[in-house]
Symmetry: C2
Subunit: 200 residues, 2 copies
């Protein structure tokens, strides 16, 4: 019978294979790379993993991932407190902050309504959103859910909840992405671009 690699190797390959975007071959490659590398790097990686879970929580206001009870954006006096952009995931904030174009605050839903995946409105951070909208400080809510079926469903649901509170509800524009060619754009993108045409 052929010999299999030893248990410590197999265990790590198995754990790495369970991560998104890492197949068995990549997991094996990483494992043998780590076998060759010095112990400091491996320990640093293990520590970073443990720290990630131990030192992060959700901001009590916006539900973004944070080291403190209130995240650095919610506690920043230079961020406009009357404007809240609702996103599905914490990493959406990373993308938006990267542009440097937004100076308001956020709210992270941690998902979108998806009946096929069994995610309902109660699985999202919507109660926390409604709670922070009660005191009238927020004047405009921008819905930044993904332009997918689930994102659209969630957007419509939120609009129905927030509009009655007398808060302006907008959403990120749908249209042609920068650098794209009309010739290759899909029907929905073109329809959205036409319906949302802007003064020029």
């Amino acid at each position: 019978m052929p010999e299999l690699p030893s248990d410590p190797i197999n265990s790590l390959i198995k754990e790495l294979s369970s991560l998104p975007g890492i197949g068995p071959k990549s997991a094996q490659r990483i494992t043998y790379y780590l076998l060759r590398t010095n112990e400091t790097q491996v320990t640093a990686l293990a520590d970073a993993l443990i720290t990630l879970k131990k030192k992060t929580k959700l901001c009590r206001i916006c539900c973004n991932v944070s080291e403190n009870d209130i995240c650095s954006i919610c506690s920043n006096p230079n961020r406009n407190p009357t404007l809240v952009l609702i996103v599905e995931q914490p990493q959406d904030i990373v993308a938006i902050e990267h542009t440097g174009a937004y100076h308001g605050r956020y709210h992270v839903l941690h998902g979108s309504i998806s009946p096929t995946e069994g995610v309902g409105e109660n699985d999202l951070r919507i109660q926390e959103l409604l709670a922070r909208l009660q005191d009238g400080a927020v004047k405009e809510v921008v819905i930044g859910t993904n332009p997918t079926r689930e994102g659209e469903t969630t957007a419509l649901y939120l609009k129905k909840l927030i509009s009655p509170l007398g808060i302006k509800v907008t959403r990120l524009a749908r249209g042609l992405p920068f650098g794209s060619e009309l010739e290759y754009a899909d029907d929905t993108t073109i329809s959205n671009a036409f319906e949302g045409r802007q003064d020029f």
Copy 2:
């Protein structure tokens, strides 16, 4: 100034990005996946990393990665002790064992001679190889270094060292890979296949 993700997130993204085949985007994706997942999975991964370094060593005979002083192949009485296949890396053994076609033993060099990368013959496990060839028990050495410039250089160097010991030296056949088409094979592969043509 745009806000950056918190330190525990950035640390893990940085550590993951340093692994082979994982770019910054994949590292970010994995990190946010781990933020959502339960702590057990993250702890299991961290433990597997630590265990990998703590519980593995190199087999005293063949230099393969092993949990014990002598690996399971070298200590297996059913493996032919007169035949030694020399490979560059431990993962080459995984590939060969997977075929189930080889029943001899191995020797792992942990690299190949590469002047451009500053790897010389003294950086490889060649002393350990010569030591185990002294007692005359090994009758044939099969060189299984990669069919690359570095692998070929290493193979020639080993042949010069081992032949004087009166041990038969062979190497894995070079030729057309299974499932390939002659039309698309490169010149060196075709030349090798012709020079090494076999009786049929």
